[in-house]
Symmetry: C2
Subunit: 304 residues, 2 copies
Amino acid sequence: MAYRLTVLGCHSATPRLNAQTTAQHLNIREHAFLIDCGEGTQTELKRHKLRSQRINHIFISHLHGDHFFGLMGLISSYHLLDRGKELHLHAPEGIRDILNTTFRHSNTWLSFPLHIHPLRFDASEIVLEDEKVSVRSFPLKHSVPACGFVFRERPHPRKLQVEAVRAHNIPVYAYARLKEGSDWEREDGSLVSNGELTLPGPVARAYAFCSDTAFDESIAPWVEGVDWLYHEATFLESEAHLAKKTRHSTAAQAARLAAMAGAKNLLMGHYSARYKELEAFRQEGMKYFDKVHLAEDGMRIDVY
Amino acid sequence: MAYRLTVLGCHSATPRLNAQTTAQHLNIREHAFLIDCGEGTQTELKRHKLRSQRINHIFISHLHGDHFFGLMGLISSYHLLDRGKELHLHAPEGIRDILNTTFRHSNTWLSFPLHIHPLRFDASEIVLEDEKVSVRSFPLKHSVPACGFVFRERPHPRKLQVEAVRAHNIPVYAYARLKEGSDWEREDGSLVSNGELTLPGPVARAYAFCSDTAFDESIAPWVEGVDWLYHEATFLESEAHLAKKTRHSTAAQAARLAAMAGAKNLLMGHYSARYKELEAFRQEGMKYFDKVHLAEDGMRIDVY
């Protein structure tokens, strides 16, 4: 079952030729999520053959232009293409004002229901939960209100051990409860423990997105143990004074956060345009954490 | 002296791979103008090696997204790149509300003076005039208030015929007035006609931009005799019912307007995405007008 991240853009501040601003597409089982939406995101979705109409939830971390200037165009295109099904937007409350103002002046009345779910910045909360996935927001520490998101797959059902189940003559109607972890009660009231009847299902996978933010230890518990952690690394330590001033992180800080959180992999991105060569980000990060990966526009990661 | 049009995007409605929405760059002598600004325009400026910081005047025809969704990003990039010099924006009044709302929520206070000059839709007016060029807006007929623009080079000075000027012993201080077309008065009060002393300067060039609009004869006088007329042709006559419904033009209508205006060349664009092959636009237009050209993204036209 799919759990695939596609990096549509991983650069900061201004879009350039071959350097898109932040946007990511995350496919978890049947869900297609969009995380941030820099200018040009709808074109990047097409470039990477991701069907934009499949997206039902969009998560916007904060209202700096390099994270949402593609949203008006994407929503407008949904409208022009006669989208009917609802779209959920998890974003700072201000997005409502921006979209209403923009569409009012262009005399656009959307063809589909757009539900805006304002993020909160004073606490973490579950912003989406169903039988497949739970998505939690948590506050980041940036120059404007900003949230990170962690996408945790819900536990998979346990796998029946068919021979054991048959040996105990367990009827089919009881299988679903066994897969959920229940023991089996014989007619005489004695129990067969679930561990004899099932094996664990596949491990639930998790991805976390942290951009933009200064280094903040309080993020670590929210992203504990994730398979992949995207954490911004706008600067190198040599420019730590700029990171501090602009409330961004260095490569070293991103790696320290990954280590604190016990993440399995770190994906860095949101590089400042001042750096022509990115290998130094990996080198700096690997002083603190082994599994450092550098995001690139168009990169695909399958989480197992 | 330069008079060059670069088509950054010439497609309608939604940006696609290799199909940018409307934006044009017009270089007239030392002026660099931007006309409309679809999503991704700042990247297209880079692609075509046009320095965005040279642009001092931006003209926005109307507030449909495919004509201005790149504006927030371009202005934001000017700010991030510490632009200091002023920028003039000639656009529908609503743009002020859209920009103010967007930048307020992103906590952005522009580093440079942005002067918004609201367009009027009830009459034509000169929106910019100096010794090089005059720019006039005129109402179009679309589903939201919209303006076209005509960029007329100011007349060049006449050229002195050096031998004739010397033969009449005309002093240097009088040359400027001769170039403006004045006759020369001898000491005895008799006149030497300007035609004996000068030759006409280069012809003043003109370009007109008409998008988006239904066919409207009242446009013709405003764009009379221009060297190049860009007129939208969203549909072919076979879809004339759609053109009427959406207040757009067909290729035939664009060509009829060019003929009525006595334009020297017609440039068509703003094609609907339904047409995979554009040659039919040229064929349809040439029934009414000889010099039909099809706009393409990245096309450059030098006006002589």
